[in-house]
């Protein structure tokens, strides 16, 4: 079972151009969601979901044009699936553009499972067996 989300995207633009879209609220809103983001470590901010609920965030790391990460969480007040997680962006200059790596990880509810002797691994293996058996 998958426990983190990874996407690598290539852009024809420079890291500086891509960075602006990751860090300027008026540009972030065009492709992601409205927010009161500021590129300052420790800054608390919120993304507004289309249904007017919030993703509650805190900036963890800012290395201009290279690294950006923040806490991304929902709580019981908003959803029946509360979780804490991390969103991290890594920009790497490549020929003719930028490689952007997104890692959305550290989902607390999965971490809890792995804390106990890698219990999640057992469960995933077991699940794999069940799926195989079901397909026979």
């Amino acid at each position: 079972m998958q426990r983190e989300i990874k996407h690598t995207f290539y852009f024809n633009q420079t890291p500086q151009q891509v960075w602006d879209y990751l860090t300027k609220p008026e540009l972030m809103e065009q492709w992601l969601m409205p927010s009161d983001f500021k590129p300052e470590v420790g800054h608390h901010f919120r993304f507004t979901n289309p249904n007017n609920t919030f993703v509650v965030c805190e900036v963890l790391e800012v290395k201009p044009f290279t690294n950006l990460s923040y806490v991304w969480k929902n709580d019981w007040a908003v959803t029946k699936t509360p979780y804490t997680s991390n969103v991290s962006w890594t920009l790497t200059p490549v020929e003719h553009g930028t490689e952007l790596l997104l890692v959305h990880s550290g989902f607390e509810l999965f971490k809890n499972l792995t804390d106990h002797n890698n219990g999640w691994m057992f469960l995933c293996n077991k699940l794999g067996e069940l799926l195989k058996a079901a397909n026979k």
Binding site: M1, Q2, R3, I5, H7, F9, F11, N12, Q13, Q17, V18, Y21, Q30, W31, L32, K80, T81, P82, Y83, L100, L102, H104, F107, L109, F110, N112, L113, H116, N117, G119, F122, L123, N125, K126, L127, L130, L131, A134
Partner: protein, 108 residues
């Protein structure tokens, strides 16, 4: 004692239930055999089992006088769907970002 109905996230939030799932990931077990691993009353173990059963994490089969618990896929599928949701969410957002940047480059 009424049986609580909890969603999958509430079900796995409890350490005892996670431990029970771990034990069941190795083999099917009777409720009595499971209970031996825990420092809690047999009714308390039964309650946890009911909760996991209601949320689709285990199935219970009665063989003779014993009730056997086996892990079941449904509960885990729901957890996987949660991750899949974000996977698709980011993929579509990043595609949108690509389009916005490319359109802007063309205009300049």
């Amino acid at each position: 004692m009424s049986t609580q109905t909890l969603d999958v996230f509430q079900v796995i939030a409890d350490p005892s239930r996670r431990q029970m799932m771990q034990l069941l990931s190795k083999e099917s077990m009777t409720i009595n055999a499971l209970a031996e691993n825990f420092d809690m009353s047999r009714p308390a173990v039964s309650k946890h089992i009911k909760i996991m059963h209601n949320a689709g994490f285990i199935s219970i089969k009665t063989i003779g006088r014993e009730r056997y618990c086996t892990l079941k896929q449904d509960g885990f599928n729901e957890l996987q769907q949660f991750i899949n949701y974000f996977d698709k969410f980011w993929q579509s957002k990043l595609k949108k970002l690509q389009m916005i940047l490319d359109n802007k480059s063309k205009l300049n």
